[in-house]
């Protein structure tokens, strides 16, 4: 594992009297897929929110490629190279699939109000290579035919694919997927696993929060297990099966499922 893309140290967060995350530490390297698992209420989603700036930790440090993120707004963190998803696909419903992917290309310089007024034609020309790339990405995620459709009209599975198309278009350093397998059928699941592995192969660091353990086992290089806000185990999935704390946290759930 090369230098950590994401390094979390001693992260803590309480809501009122409830300790949502307590003294949490882990790291993800370039090209690595890290699974973040644990029962409901373990604090996984809170960690995702804290890392992406949608919540502020009470204590601890979060570094993206060495840079401290604590205290930054979500959009600023995103510009530093993090893309996170939400538990449900959050497409921009009223815009076309193409516009969704183009927005994810993140050419912020072209969104200046002044430039849009005075350089409209030039911006359109400059955008053509991005459109070309967006078309290739939509092709890869089976959305080519739907490029001019309103994103809100897509099926649940297509919305998941659009989510991945947007990440591919953004090409971030770090991807955090919050339950990417929610409501996904097995065929699409294979696509999603391939997409995650492709992100890693391209050198991105990926964190996957997921309840679907076979998916975690087949996709992740390493797994962090959380329970009641704390990291209770960390390592390769196979090595965690016998860990009594993990088995206990999952209420005796059989982790072998084969």
């Amino acid at each position: 594992m090369s230098a950590a893309v994401l390094q979390i140290e001693n992260l803590s967060k309480s809501f009122g009297g409830i300790r949502a995350v307590h003294d949490c530490s882990f790291a993800v390297g370039q090209g690595q897929v890290l699974g973040l698992i644990g029962p409901n209420g373990a604090g996984k989603s809170t960690v995702v929110d804290l890392v992406s700036g949608f919540g502020q930790p009470d204590a601890g440090s979060i570094r993206l490629a060495g840079q401290e993120l604590v205290g930054m707004r979500p959009d600023v963190i995103s510009r530093l190279g993090l893309i996170r998803t939400f538990q449900n696909p959050r497409e921009w419903r009223g815009l076309t699939v193409m516009d969704n992917v183009l927005l994810a290309r993140r050419r912020f310089g072209r969104e200046s109000l002044w430039r849009c007024l005075t350089r409209a034609r030039r911006l359109r020309r400059e955008e053509e290579p991005d459109r070309e790339q967006a078309r290739a990405i939509m092709d890869r995620f089976q959305l080519a035919e739907l490029k001019n459709a309103r994103a809100g009209t897509l099926s649940g599975g297509q919305k998941r694919l659009l989510e991945f198309a947007r990440i591919a278009a953004a090409d971030p350093r770090l991807v955090i997927l919050d339950e990417p397998m929610g409501g996904v059928n097995p065929v699409l699941g294979v696509h999603i696993r391939d997409a995650v592995r492709q992100f890693a192969a391209a050198g991105q660091a990926v964190v996957v929060v997921e309840h679907n353990l076979p998916f975690i086992e087949n996709t992740c290089d390493e797994v962090v297990v959380m329970d009641l806000g704390e990291v209770i185990a960390q390592g390769v999935f196979a090595g965690l099966r016998g860990n009594p704390r993990v088995v206990d946290a999952y209420l005796g759930m059989d982790l072998s499922h084969d």
Binding site: T96, L103, L117, A120, K147
Partner: protein
Amino acid sequence: MYWVSVVTEAAIFAILALGLDMVWGWAGDFDLAFYGYLALGSYMTMVLTIGKPIPPVSYIIGWRLPYPLALLLAVAAVIALAAVIGAIALRNLREIYFAVTTLSAVSALYLFVENYTPLFDGYNGVYGLINPGQTALNLTYNGYRIVFLGVVLVLLALVYLTVQRLSASPFGRMLRSVREDEHAAAAYGRGVFSAKYRAYLFGAALAGLAGGLFAVFISAFNPSAWTPQELLVIYAAILVGGRGNPFGVVAGVFAVYIGFIEVTRFLPSPAARPEFGPALRQVLIGLLIILVLKFRPEGLFRERLSRDRSPQ
């Protein structure tokens, strides 16, 4: 001349509506302060052009600037006010909380203007901006009104082309992504407040411009000219025409102001109850909003999707 006046008024309100639609249609914020921006634009244009007040009349500034310069300064004043209200209302407040905050701001402003006479002479308002440039242009009163209509229409065309250009631009796309899902927009690097704020100031500037033109149109301005119901008519017009579609917005304003208000002007109004006609018109506007929402919520002209034409 009656129709010249009607079309002029509709064209001025179309400019206001294009500004309001950037805020409501594109950014998704239901603002209730916009009529205040038109009012401030009118007041400022007046006090910058009509000269010193003669007691007991009192108002601020009292300069005699050329009208176009006064118009620009009035727009700047409106942007400054919108910058304050927007900075408070847009930061964390959304939907009904945003609407109530902007309504409170404009209500406070209204009461202040109405009661603090040194500002704009309170309830009496300011008056006396009568056809600026008429003598210089050597026009009759009616001729001036026709020329003024031409000026307003040219300005409307320029505003429309500008707004249409922004609407189809990456800025318009980005702003709509903020409207559709601001968390997702932030997760993809968009500064939500800054995006909404820029649209808000741009829209308010258009409201200020409309106000400056309105000052010439009615040549006097006082609190009774900007009651909250006026903005409801603009919202009805945007809704009818098509929220988020600049062409639809202009069409909606003309349809509502000419097709609707003017037609209902001929409703019977018994001599004993002269307020019956205007009151009935308010009721019909409400009915129109309900019917459009029920049967064609996207309006006559739906928000245009950008089409990627390249073959694939």
